[in-house]
């Protein structure tokens, strides 16, 4: 499939592994995999210089399906692993990914503090408002009256978590929402998120056709945000107050300095540190 072209050095296929996904046919995560690999190809980052970290859940299976350096950790801890990688190897492109349960429930504390810490990395959450891998329980983003779970047969009765609001309040430097069904538009969002310095958060509405078949209708519900992105957190917050949850596009681009400690040695060896102990 070679043609004379001015294409970048990599194609999306170069970022995919030989491992075949186990996701259900129709699952939005297939498209997200496509978007991520397209974004990386567009950015022309050599696969060996990308680290993709995830926790546990259907969407967290994603790293194994790529040809970059992956880490499939424990439930809820993708962000701390990603933080460790980026802070110790700042030259790498670091992406964390996972689902709404992994990121907003068990990993909720890390989500807040990753926004706050503002390490230069991108966090992609495939949000389907359900725990798929454990057979369909309500997640933090599930509507309070969803009664299809055996665990909460009367619905949770609890208001859903609003990830974009939390991200903004906690200090994320780039905030966007996309829809998995728009693979190319999502690739653009991810490309921009990776390019933007600091902590970039991308919420991707990614339907679960098995436990939330009604989410197939999301394709008709999403719409481009009516207004341009802002760098003013107050304006971004006001927009989120009237958000119907289906606005897609970049919401907020901040300019906060990313967290990256200096790594410049000031002594020649460990022996120089021992002087403080000598009496």
């Amino acid at each position: 499939m070679e043609a004379t072209s001015t294409c970048p050095s990599y194609s999306a296929r170069d970022y995919k592994s030989e491992v075949k996904p186990v996701w259900c046919p129709g699952c939005g995560d297939y498209s997200v995999l496509g978007s991520i690999t397209k974004a990386l190809a567009e950015l022309s980052i050599p696969p060996e210089r990308v680290a993709l970290v995830s926790g546990i859940g259907c969407s967290s299976r994603l790293p194994a399906y790529t040809n970059v350096f992956g880490f499939h950790g424990v439930h809820g801890r993708a962000l701390p692993i990603a933080t460790g990688i980026k802070v110790s190897r700042p030259e790498l492109t670091v992406i964390a990914s996972g689902g709404d349960g992994d990121g907003f429930s068990i990993g909720g504390n890390h989500f807040m503090h990753a926004c706050r810490r503002n390490v230069d990395m991108t966090y992609i959450v495939m949000d389907n408002e359900v725990y798929g891998m454990t057979k369909g329980q309500a997640s933090p983003t599930t509507a309070p009256d969803w009664e299809k779970s055996k665990l909460t047969p009367q619905g949770t009765g609890i208001n859903p978590f609003h990830p974009l609001v939390i991200a903004l309040a906690a200090g994320a430097n780039f905030i966007a929402r996309g829809f998995s069904g728009d693979q190319n538009g999502t690739a653009q969002l991810i490309t921009e998120a990776i390019r933007h310095p600091g902590f970039s958060f991308v919420q991707l509405l990614s339907p679960c056709v098995t436990f939330r078949p009604e989410q197939r209708d999301w394709k008709d519900m999403v719409h481009p945000a009516a207004v341009d992105p802002t760098d003013d957190p107050a304006r971004a917050a006001r927009r989120l107050m009237t958000d119907d949850g289906f606005n897609v596009g970049v919401l907020y681009r901040g300019s906060r300095k990313p967290f990256q400690p200096e790594r410049q040695a000031s002594v020649d060896s460990v022996a120089d540190l021992e002087k403080e102990f000598v009496l």
Partner: protein
């Protein structure tokens, strides 16, 4: 009357400056060529609470307390009675206190020790800017025979930044205290220092652990504060920066352990330090480090448990969680320093082993090692470094991260190595790292992860073995100090006994221990745990020869040499 070892406690309420006095005494002793050891005790208040600095000065290396204290000097008596159990004294002891320092505590009086007054407040008033704690320092220095030069030298250096007036006032206070001591009842004076060829170090166990970490090559640390492990992290923060390394304060222990897994996966040797409650939170991810074969080191400075327990007091009761806390079959390293100075060696060794064997290492220190300060002979760098087996050359075919080698250790690529991309996984996996629930993959990977620990040559460092005879004391960690001292007395009284202090708690070394115990008829197990965790561990993994007795009790009171000596003497 001279002695080879003298023990002193400074006590007083908030603002009295007993810790400062203790630190200065320790430094002065070190400069005079004596060895010194100091632990601290305090009330639960952050500031203003009662506090005690418990000191032992000795002509030979000392890193644990004696049976009792020779001198208790109280700058005031506010709540000092609360420390009574921690300050055992005999009728030979000397209690010094200010008659204007509040009500003399009954518990202290009950010890039956000799008492004498020092009017600290009154004396301090007579010196412009005079400080009661400096008078106390001078008095103790005078009593035990510390040279004035050594004490004044430390005072001058410590107060260099406080200005001329403060320095002069403190010097005058020390001299006044020394002069006053001449009229006090006698107490043992320390024998002349044995000439030291090198200058001693003043260091805590937690600082030593930090030093061992950077000597081993640690360059990334994630930190979440917890007593009594925090000082490991606080020492590392500025010192890692000087070495071009990084310390990140994490949002919780779940984050700190996963941050170090991330940094280590990226190729940078990584460590965190914590204490029991933090270790409990970290155990799930310790399993991740084991399964994904990502080297990490966790220094766990034990405190009294369970739950929040007794944060400021020592206990050896995290042994079970360190050994068995991980779910699944998760072989990993557990290494225990057995003295304050050994915190440096054991931590460095653990870092080296973790990276060599691509697994998780837990260093089981404790509060009594970590938060104690001692003057010690400078510990030499034993040369252990975090060095990983890495793939070489161009990747020819698809990289098998978890290839099943004879040694069990597989070459580990790091991000940036072209053609070696793989996904590290906590899910069971095949040699490529691809998730697999196949029985063959599970058993092959379990075998490999066990084998790499089992076949490694740990050399002589797995235990400290001393002495001979048909009676052996088997111990670990901080109780090794009082055991050593008890054995010295036992030998001095004509007994013969050996010490086996196990440093490599996991993996177990049954053949080596059997050799170390050859010919032994009686084994005394000593540990500081209510549930006899070490004894049960030994019973589970080793064949112990002859008859076995276990001496175990919980914290917060330290195990003292005479308790162990009595066990030995009574069993003979």
């Amino acid at each position: 009357m001279t002695a080879r070892s003298v023990s002193i406690t400074f006590a007083g309420s908030g603002g009295a400056g007993v810790m400062t006095a203790g630190n200065m005494l320790l430094d002065a002793a070190g400069r005079a060529g004596w060895y010194a050891y100091m632990t601290r005790s305090s009330g639960a208040q952050i500031r203003g609470g009662e506090a005690a600095a418990m000191m032992r000065l000795s002509t030979s290396p000392v890193q644990s307390h004696d049976d009792h204290f020779d001198v208790l000097v109280a700058i005031d008596w506010q709540n000092v009675g609360r420390f009574s159990a921690e300050i055992p004294m005999t009728s030979d002891g000397l209690v010094l206190g200010d008659p204007d320092g509040g009500d003399f505590p009954e518990q202290i009086g009950a010890k039956g020790a000799r008492c004498a007054d020092i009017p600290f407040k009154k004396m301090a008033k007579e010196i412009e800017g005079g400080r009661p704690n400096m008078i106390a320092l001078g008095a103790v220095a005078g009593l035990v025979g510390l040279p004035e030069d050594a004490v004044l030298g430390v005072v001058r250096d410590s107060l260099a930044k406080k200005g001329e007036a403060a320095r002069t006032a403190s010097e005058a206070s020390v001299r006044a205290g020394m002069a006053f001591a001449a009229g006090l009842p006698a107490c043992p004076r320390l024998a002349a220092a044995e000439g030291q060829s090198e200058r001693l170090w003043s260091i805590t166990g937690n600082e030593a652990a930090g030093l061992g970490a950077v000597r081993g090559g640690i360059r990334f640390v994630a930190a979440y504060p917890i007593t009594p492990g925090t000082e490991v992290l606080e020492w590392l923060a500025p010192n890692l920066a000087k070495l071009g390394g990084v310390l990140v304060q994490a949002e919780d222990e779940l984050a700190s352990i996963n941050q170090i897994i991330g940094a280590s996966y990226a190729g940078v040797p990584s460590l965190t330090a914590t204490s029991g409650p933090g270790l409990a939170l970290m155990t799930e991810s310790l399993g991740l480090a084991v399964a994904s074969e990502t080297p990490i080191t966790v220094v766990n400075v034990m405190r009294g448990g369970p739950s929040t327990g007794i944060p400021v007091k020592s206990e050896q009761s995290d042994l079970n969680i360190a050994l068995y806390g991980l779910h699944g079959d998760a072989p990993h390293l557990v290494v225990a320093p057995n003295s304050l100075a050994d915190c440096a060696f054991s931590t460095q060794w653990a870092v080296h082993l973790a990276d060599s064997l691509q697994t998780a290492a837990i260093v089981l220190s404790d509060q009594s090692l970590g938060q104690s300060r001692a003057t010690i002979a400078p510990p030499l760098d034993p040369g252990f470094r975090a060095i990983r087996l890495m793939p070489e050359g161009e990747a020819a075919e698809r990289y098998r991260r978890y290839t099943n080698t004879a040694s069990g250790v597989s070459p580990m690529a790091v991000p940036g190595m072209k053609g070696y991309q793989y996904t590290a996984d906590g899910l069971e996996h095949n040699e490529y790292g691809t998730p697999s629930s196949a029985a063959a993959d599970h058993s092959a990977q379990l075998d490999k992860r066990l084998r790499k620990l089992a076949v490694h040559d740990y050399g002589q460092h797995w235990a400290d073995i001393e002495g001979d005879g048909d009676i052996a004391v088997l111990t670990w960690g901080s109780t090794t100090g009082p055991v050593r001292e008890a054995l010295e007395r036992f030998r001095a009284s004509g007994g013969r006994a050996r010490l086996v202090s196990i440093r490599l708690i996991s993996p177990v070394r049954p053949e080596q221990l059997a050799a170390a115990l050859a010919g032994v008829a009686r084994v005394l197990v000593v540990e500081q745990s209510h549930g006899a965790q070490f004894h049960r561990y030994l019973r589970a993994h080793y064949d112990l020869p002859g008859s076995v007795r276990a001496f175990h009790r919980p914290g917060p009171l330290p195990i003292r040499p005479n308790e162990i000596f009595r066990q030995l003497a009574d069993w003979s």
